[in-house]
């Protein structure tokens, strides 16, 4: 059991909002959302500074979601954070919704960048981190990227640049679920020991179980308080569909199929495990 009940409740709420959005569309990247919910709970309810009623507050920590298809997860976190209203869940992915299937800055309060074309987020984060330093603004820039995104060359341009500029205000969060569109990430493109390669590039690198709230909290704390002038990365090994065992056991794919009657079942199973 998690010792941090309040964060466990947040993660539960994020999973629940995400499942409800998935139910609206009858589909969605629910496997990723369930897998990353704990990391988002720590981001939004432990690590980051923000104002729910002022999503562009100059003092906020920036959260850049590279992976546009994870929008369902971030919307759920933004709803739990009070930045998006819960009663818009029914519009998810619909015409005229503020919550399109792929995250775009122009559509959604709290969605800082437009993701989807993978390999962009970390580079934009480098520029924002440089800009914050120019302004002497002490905020952090968090970039959530995926393991698959580590195959993009532009990600590694940004990795090198962040070290060059000693961006100690930049925290990369890799949601490492070993899954990308065509199958296992580790079977696709020369994946290497993650801590080893990020460290070799000059980053302060940590690897944690992305579904262990205490471990994720400790890693975020270490990343924020690390006192060497270098960028930080937290590789979060997460389990697709975490929290809904019958989906966890399903043959995991990038796009998890959920039958129409299974959404209710998933919600009730999640509710049975609601942290008290």
């Amino acid at each position: 059991m998690q010792s941090n009940v309040s964060l466990a409740r947040r993660a539960y709420a994020i999973r629940r909002f995400a499942l409800r959005m998935g139910e609206v569309q009858g589909q969605g990247y629910i496997g990723q959302a369930l897998g990353v919910a704990d990391v988002l709970a720590v981001s939004y309810f432990h690590a980051m500074a923000y104002r729910a009623d002022d999503p562009t507050w100059e003092g906020r920590d920036r959260f850049y979601l590279s992976i546009g298809h994870y929008a369902i997860a971030l919307y759920a976190a933004l709803i739990e954070a009070g930045i998006l209203p819960e009663d818009e869940i029914g519009t998810y992915g619909m015409d005229d919704s503020r919550m399109p299937m792929s995250g775009m800055a122009a559509y959604t309060p709290g969605m800082e960048i437009t993701g989807g074309s993978l390999g962009h987020g970390l580079g934009i984060a480098v520029g924002a981190a440089l800009g914050l330093k120019r302004k002497k603004n002490p905020a952090f820039v968090y970039n959530m990227l995926s393991d698959g995104e580590l195959g993009e060359g532009s990600t590694w341009e940004a990795v090198m640049s962040a070290v060059q500029w000693k961006l100690d205000n930049l925290i990369a969060i890799v949601d490492f679920n070993d899954q990308q569109a065509d199958g296992k990430t580790t079977a696709a493109l020369a994946q290497m020991p993650e801590v080893g390669r990020w460290s070799a590039f000059g980053w302060f690198a940590q690897e944690v179980d992305g579904n262990d709230l205490d471990a994720v909290v400790a890693a975020f704390d270490a990343a924020r308080h690390h006192d060497v002038a270098q960028p930080r990365v937290i590789i979060c090994k997460s389990k697709m569909c975490k929290g809904v065992p019958f989906l966890e056991d399903r043959e995991i794919t990038h796009f998890v199929r959920v039958e129409p009657d299974e959404w209710t079942k998933a919600l009730s199973i999640l509710d049975e495990g609601k942290p008290t």
Binding site: T114, S117, I124, L132, E157
Partner: protein, 345 residues
């Protein structure tokens, strides 16, 4: 215009003999744009940016290892703490410019036109244009301004960039225009792609009491027989051609169109509608997808049916060689374009 048959690519197996005597031609990367002894101004972009930055804390400069070859080194020297050497990494340069713009800065990012248009396109369109961020992408070696070969000849950059929503595209003629346009685009609230002539840049437009205005075509001279519609360095060339043709009794007007997008369709339609003239577009770019086709489509859409010809580079991978040789070979030198126009009359 059908240039591939001219190509030296076709004769790889044929041995060559070095010419006797003086060496006159080079395919070096940086070649003199004009050997005709025009008045020139040094590094107009770099100096304009330095001047602007005096009153604008928001202006920052980024380059991908090409500050010296885009005149950004002038800015880097004046404002070292506002200059970001991003290394040979166009994707992160463009993405970081987007991030800086998100934090309220006005980044000027420089590289060669080929690398911005070809390599960094996805980053420009999604990180910058989709959000309408005020990043200014300023690129040297536009069109055929180096004899180095297709790796550095941005013969299709306008065709690539014109498809990008929100993007303003500038193809300035000379030093005067580069100086003015740099200041104007700094005030523009959206993204801009500007082609750049760097180093010693010819100064032509100062003779014409010229003022650059974003999105405006300017009639530099009027004429009864031919209307040149031109951009970039080809405006210098058609102004010279107009003088040469005048001697043969051919009266040529020159409509200079420095803003390729949004195109000043109203002025183009109005000028082309003044009947009895051959409309000749002239651009330092492939005949595919640049100014010429933009003007043709504008006139077709408006129902303006006039005799129309295009001066531009062929839809081909161009040869390596001396720049002036290549300009003759591909029909964009003053001599070659003058001959083309005479042939069309």
């Amino acid at each position: 215009m059908n240039g591939q048959y001219l190509s030296r690519r076709q004769s790889k197996e044929t041995p060559r003999t070095a010419p006797k005597g003086e060496r006159l031609a080079t395919s070096a990367m940086i070649a003199s744009l004009d050997a005709e002894g025009r008045k020139t101004i040094a590094a107009p972009f770099g100096h304009a940016l330095v001047d602007l930055a005096k009153d604008r804390d928001d202006i920052v400069g980024l380059t991908a290892d090409l500050s010296k070859y885009t005149d950004l080194h002038v800015f880097a020297k004046a404002y070292p703490d506002r200059f970001y050497q991003m290394g040979m990494a166009e994707a992160v340069m463009i993405s970081a410019a987007a991030g800086l713009a998100r934090e309220g800065f006005t980044p000027f990012a420089t590289t060669y036109a080929v690398f911005a248009a070809r390599r960094a396109y996805d980053f420009i369109i999604m990180a910058i244009a989709e959000e309408n961020l005020p990043v200014k992408i300023v690129c040297a070696l536009p069109g055929l301004t180096t004899g180095y070969g297709p790796s550095h000849q941005a013969t299709e950059d306008l065709a690539i960039m014109r498809g990008m929503p929100n993007l303003t595209i500038i193809d300035p003629c000379d030093a005067t225009e580069i100086d003015q346009a740099t200041r104007v685009i700094a005030d523009h609230p959206g993204p801009v792609y500007m082609r750049l002539l760097r180093g010693q840049v010819p100064d032509v437009l100062s003779e014409y009491d010229y003022k650059f205005e974003l999105g405006q075509a300017k009639l530099l001279r009027d004429g009864r027989d031919v209307l040149f519609v031109s951009s970039g360095l080809m405006t210098m060339r058609v102004l010279d051609a107009a003088k040469a043709l005048q001697k043969d009794g051919v009266d040529c007007g020159v409509l200079h169109v420095p803003t390729i997008k949004p195109l000043d369709t109203a002025t183009i339609i109005a000028e082309a509608s003044k009947g009895g003239r051959l409309v000749v577009t002239a651009e330092n770019h492939s005949v595919v997808g640049g100014l010429g086709e933009a003007v043709a489509a504008t006139l077709m859409r408006a129902g303006v049916f006039v005799p129309f010809r295009q001066i531009g580079l062929p839809d081909a991978f161009l040869d390596a060689g001396a720049l002036l040789t290549l300009h003759d070979q591909y029909g964009i030198s003053v001599k070659a374009l003058t001959a083309s126009v005479k042939g069309w009359l």
